[in-house]
């Protein structure tokens, strides 16, 4: 017990602000829902906040299938959140998780459909590898551009998101389109689909192997960041690129490595989403993973464990959004409002600390200072 209390005392300064931000965001979001209902046909309903949270919570945790839905929604967020968080640790702001996710998804869908009659281990292994490699390649580009030319990764990754979406449309409409469907989509996955827990119970049918992969990625990334040499170098570059250079590290190469690894994780997220949940790719595949993963990484303070919990929270919100819309007649986009307000409170953590009378945390959003310092400056000289 005292050990637990010690752990809490250690974690409290780090965890308090994110928790406070979440609580405040829930309050603000319910006020927004309440006030905005004035101007709709349904009219003002004072019990709306209550209905919203009953809907959200019930949709996320009320029953086994709902909990499975939360986990399924959280899976890509864990992986893509780790991708963004890993970038933060090197002082890089990878807004391109969206594009890397899409490329990973389309590569996995294409390879999976091509190998749908191969033995499952081979088909799955090839499809997952293709997805991660495609994501890594899409992450390598902004990393190399940043290291070699100084082009800021925030702008280049956003541009690559749009280019990636066009590329996906092109691939699905031309090379990968499967015959025999009423709309453009990739072929059936067959043996390349990730195995799921449906053999245990019908409710668990959506619980796929990707969830396990995501759970394994958390300690893997933690080990890479905090126990390996390259992780140490990545964190040093993030904290102080000049010091890293003087210590004999090569910031340029580390930036390329970090963006590639980040893209790899996001690509893995895309691959597991396709192979485990969607099972095929369409030309205009829409997903909120891109921005959600930034929110997850910021809320989780770029720490793998924090990211895991943040991803579960946002997975729950996404899973609860649909049921909430049905029960409370509030648009499911309210979840986006909650997410936005959480982020605003995280940026303005001053407010959160004043309200909850918290002291300044040693580690916080300031620990993820992005490479603003290197704006417009070449890193490799």
């Amino acid at each position: 017990m005292s050990r637990l209390r010690g752990l809490w005392a250690e974690a409290r300064p780090v965890v308090a602000v994110p928790l406070g931000a979440v609580v405040l965001a829930m309050i603000v979001a319910s006020v927004v829902a309440l006030l905005s209902s004035f101007f709709t046909e349904a009219g003002f309903d004072p019990s709306l906040p209550f209905k919203v949270f009953v809907g959200l919570f019930g949709g996320a945790f009320g029953g086994l299938d709902h909990i499975v839905n939360t986990l399924v929604n959280a899976t890509p967020l864990v992986l893509a959140g780790l991708a963004v968080g890993f970038g933060f640790k090197a002082g890089l702001f990878n807004i391109g998780a969206q594009g890397q996710f899409l490329l990973g998804a389309v590569a996995a869908a294409g390879v999976g459909a091509a190998l749908n009659e191969a033995p499952p281990p081979l088909a799955i292994g090839a499809a997952v590898s293709a997805g991660t490699l495609a994501g890594a390649a899409w992450g390598f580009i902004p990393g190399a551009l940043k290291a070699w030319t100084g082009a800021h990764e925030v702008v280049t990754t956003i541009m690559l998101n749009f280019i990636g979406a066009s590329l996906v449309a092109f691939l699905v409409l031309n090379l990968l389109q499967a015959p025999g469907f009423s709309f453009a989509r990739t072929g059936d996955l067959g043996n390349a689909a990730l195995p799921n827990a449906g053999f245990l119970s019908a409710d668990l049918g959506r619980l796929h192997l990707g969830i396990l992969l995501a759970l394994l990625a958390v300690p893997a990334v933690w080990w890479l960041l905090y126990r390996s040499t390259i992780g140490f170098e990545v964190r040093t570059v993030g904290a102080n690129p000049d010091a890293a250079r003087y210590a004999g590290m090569r910031p340029g190469l580390l930036i390329i490595f970090t963006m590639t690894a980040s893209g790899l994780l996001a690509g893995l997220a895309g691959a597991t989403e396709i192979l485990g949940t969607s099972h095929y790719m369409i030309a205009s595949y829409g997903t909120s993973v891109g921005f959600d993963s930034i929110a997850v990484a910021l809320l989780g303070r770029s720490h793998p464990v924090g990211i895991l919990f943040a991803a579960l929270l946002f997975g729950a919100l996404r899973a609860g959004a649909g049921p909430m819309q049905l029960e409370a007649h509030v648009p499911s986009e309210l979840v986006d409002v909650i997410q936005a307000v959480i982020l605003l409170f995280l940026a303005a953590d001053l407010i959160v600390r004043r309200l909850f009378r918290l002291r300044q945390a040693k580690r916080g959003i300031e620990a993820v200072e992005t490479a603003t310092e290197t704006y417009g400056r070449k890193l490799v000289t």
């Binding site: 541009m159 749009f162 982020l343 300031e366």
Partner: protein
């Protein structure tokens, strides 16, 4: 078609000929498409010249586009009016512009507060603004606009310049390109020139540049660094607001989720490519929009011969991503050689506070 059978030089000459031929036709389209990028770039130039990076231009535009559309729509519904002969303006559209500008300035105030007072990381602050704008507009779009499909105030009409001007030899097409526009797109060139003069010839401009290059020195000569940064970031927001108003009140007359489609980020690239000057950024914006307009021209009036075969063989998705590709190429090629304001991205605190 055998690729080796295409004479490369011939096709290049054909391409130049085609470009010259379609230039008068695509110039008005290009200048219209450049308007939101150029206005967003003005927002970026003022902010970065005073030392504040603004990644949130995209979000400010989106918020302005939404608020402008919503307010104009409600005003048009409550007070229907016949459009005026000039620009087809109505009170609703004009109030919409004001609302859009105010909305963007409010978001800019938030960015100023986060980056100047709270001294948060400016890139994170901007990104959060983008995510928040997307989330809020998506929510209210579903709540208020989606159930009212007839909501809307229409759009401004393009000015039709007199034929004596547009038929002048040599410069006629250029005059037409700049004058055959709605009010916002037409005012862009004026705004750009005024800002260029103000930034490099006025006291405000000198102070702004001083605060962006060396805030501590500016402070010692009595300039209130924080106040000037606040004022400039909020003022710059007005231009992002105009850009948003252009999208919903001049270009399309409808609001769609995420309709800014990266223009705020392209504007940032235009700022860098234009070496942090208004005129340069405007030129860069024209380059990006011209690539868009060219895709329109190729789709509507494809060239003949080998060039036509080649250009129509390129998938449409490539043309759709052309401005984004160009942005990356420009950033990669230019960044190392153009020098940003020295203090950009760094919060300023007096030594006693730091």
């Amino acid at each position: 078609m055998d690729p080796t059978s295409i004479p490369v030089l011939g096709v290049l000459i054909q391409l130049v000929g085609y470009l010259v031929e379609v230039l008068p036709d695509i110039a008005p389209i290009a200048i219209g498409l450049a308007a939101p990028i150029a206005l967003g770039a003005m927002c970026g130039v003022i902010g970065e010249r005073s030392g504040v990076v603004n990644i949130g231009i995209e979000g400010m535009m989106l918020m302005a586009a939404f608020v402008g559309f919503l307010v104009a729509g409600f005003v048009a519904q409550t007070f229907p009016a016949t459009p005026w002969p000039i620009f087809g303006a109505t009170p609703a559209l004009l109030i919409g512009i004001v609302a859009a500008v105010l909305a963007a300035m409010a978001v800019a105030l938030l960015h100023a507060w986060l980056s100047v007072s709270v001294r948060a990381d400016q890139i994170i602050s901007g990104t959060i603004i983008n995510i928040a704008a997307l989330g809020l507009t998506g929510y209210f779009n579903r709540l208020w606009i989606a159930p009212n499909p007839r909501l809307g105030a229409g759009t401004f009409q393009s000015f039709i310049p007199p034929a004596e001007l547009t038929e002048l030899p040599l410069v006629g097409w250029l005059l037409k390109a700049f004058l055959n526009q709605g009010p916002i797109a037409m005012s862009v060139i004026v705004i750009v020139i005024v800002l260029q003069v103000l930034l490099f010839r006025s006291r405000w401009g000198l102070r702004t540049r001083a605060v962006g290059e060396h805030p501590a020195a500016a402070d010692t000569v009595g300039i209130d660094v924080l106040l000037l940064r606040y004022r400039n970031v909020v003022l710059a927001g007005a231009f992002a607001g105009l850009a948003g108003a252009y999208l919903t009140l001049e270009a399309t007359g409808a609001f769609q989720n995420g309709m800014t489609t990266g223009r705020g980020f392209i504007a940032l690239a235009a700022v860098i490519f234009g070496r942090w000057t208004p005129i340069g950024a405007f030129g860069a914006a024209l380059l990006f929009s011209a690539s868009d307009a060219l895709a329109v021209a190729i789709a509507l009036r494809p060239p003949t011969g080998h060039l036509g075969d080649l250009l129509t063989a390129i998938p449409s998705e490539f043309y759709a991503s052309l401005p984004y590709l160009l942005t990356i190429i420009v950033l990669a090629g230019v960044v190392g050689r153009s020098i940003a304001p020295a203090a950009v991205g760094r919060p300023y605190a007096k030594e006693s506070q730091a």
